[in-house]
Symmetry: C2
Subunit: 218 residues, 2 copies
C-alpha cells in the first residue's frame, strides 16, 4: 500500500467510532513495525506496546475509561447547547468510544520506563514533558500507519488517572508507566478526511516570540 506522507498527515483525524471487526494480522504487523521505526533519545526505544484484545480485560478497561470520561466531560455536558458545535460532535464521538471500548479489536496501551530516558526538563519549575519525546514520536508513527491502512484510532490519556489499576490488570512492572491508550479498528463512518487546524502563520514565529514567521527581512 502506497500512501503519500502529506496525504496521510493532512487527513489524520481522530476516529472514535470503531467497528469490532478483526484486523488482519499482517496489517497490524505493518502498523506495529512503523511504530518501532520512530526516533527516540539515544535510540534507546524506552517504550513497550501492550496490544489488548482479551475481552474480559477490555471490559474492565471500559469501566475505568467510562468513569474518567464521564468525570472529564462533566463541565462540557453542563454547558449543553452553549458548547460549540465542533465540541458537541467530539463529545458524542467520545461517548460512543467510551460505550464501545470493550468491543475494539485491539487497544494499544503504551508503556514507558522513565529510568531509560534523559528527561532534561525534570529539574525545572514547570511541568516536565520531555520524556514524551521518546514515546509520542512512536505513537504518531503508529497512528499515521493506521491512517495508511484505513484503520481508525485516537490517542487517549484518561486511563493514566487509573494507572495502578491498569498496571495490575495487565501485569505491568513497577518501574514502567503508562502514557497512552490507542483504540484501533475499522471506522464505523468515513474515518479519515479533512481536519481543522490553526495555520502555520499563527503558530510559527521568526527569531523572536510574537514576530510572524516570514515577516522578517532575511
Amino acid at each position: 500500500m502506497i500512501l503519500d506522507l502529506y496525504e496521510a498527515m493532512s487527513t489524520q483525524r481522530a476516529v472514535r467510532r470503531l467497528k469490532p471487526d478483526a484486523i488482519p494480522e499482517e496489517v497490524l504487523q505493518r502498523v506495529l513495525t512503523a511504530a518501532m521505526w520512530a526516533p527516540t533519545g539515544g535510540n534507546v526505544q524506552p517504550f513497550r506496546l501492550l496490544a489488548v484484545s482479551d475481552s474480559t480485560k477490555l471490559s474492565t478497561i471500559q469501566t475505568l475509561y467510562q468513569q474518567e470520561w464521564s468525570e472529564y466531560t462533566k463541565a462540557m455536558r453542563a454547558a449543553g447547547d452553549q458548547l460549540p458545535e465542533a465540541r458537541q460532535r467530539m463529545m458524542r464521538a467520545g461517548d460512543y468510544l467510551a460505550a464501545h471500548m470493550s468491543e475494539v479489536p485491539v487497544l494499544m496501551v503504551v508503556c514507558f520506563n522513565p529510568a531509560l530516558m534523559a528527561i532534561t526538563d525534570a529539574g525545572l519549575n514547570r511541568p516536565s514533558i520531555v520524556g514524551g519525546g521518546s514515546v509520542y514520536t512512536a505513537v504518531q508513527n503508529l497512528m499515521l500507519a493506521c491512517r495508511a491502512e484505513g484503520l481508525g484510532c485516537v490517542l487517549t490519556t484518561l486511563l493514566c488517572f487509573r494507572e495502578q489499576e491498569m498496571k495490575s490488570l495487565l501485569g505491568i512492572p513497577e518501574e514502567w508507566g503508562t502514557c497512552a491508550a490507542v483504540p484501533i479498528g475499522y471506522p464505523v463512518l468515513k474515518g479519515y478526511g479533512p481536519i481543522s487546524r490553526r495555520p502555520a502563520g499563527k503558530m510559527v514565529f521568526q527569531d523572536t516570540w510574537g514576530q510572524s514567521y516570514g515577516s522578517g527581512s532575511d
Copy 2:
C-alpha cells in the same frame, strides 16, 4: 513531491551534519504546515514553533548547546574505544552538530504551554510525560516532512537545561516552556537511509506484560 509514508518512516535517520545552505521558503512552508496537522489533546495545539535563523542568536545558542553537549558526553568520552562503534559514530556526528549549530539555516525551537494541556499523569508518583502527547506528535510530523523534502534534522532536548537563557534570548513568555530544538538543513552526507531498531517482536506484548505478541491463541 510524493513519498510513501512507510518509505519515509523506515529511512528517518537522525541527521546531525547539516549544510549552511538556505532552504527555499516554499519547502520550509510545507514542513511547517505538516507539523500543524498533527493531532493534539482536544485539538488545542498547545505548542508554538520559533524558527531561529538570526546568526547572532544562533551563535549564543551554539555556546549553550556546546556546554551541555560536552557535559552530557563526558562519561562516553571517558570510555573512549570501549564505547560501541555505533555510539562513537553518534558522538562524532553530535560533535559536528555542536560545532556547527550557529550555521544551520534554521533551528526550530519548540515551545509549549502546560496550562493549555490536560496532563493526566501529573499527580502520579513517577515522572510525568503525558504533556508531550500534544507536542511530539507535531515534532514527528515536522521531522517526517523534512525527510520527505530531503532535509536532515534531529530532535535535541539538551537546551532545556538552559531554558531560562533560551527564553530570555528569544523573548518567550513566562508561561511557555521549551521542549525541543530541531536543527534543520540539507545533509552534508547521504542524510537518510537504513535505520537500526529493535523489532516489534521484542517490543510488543499481547494482553499481558511479557507475553510475546502473536503468541496467544486468539
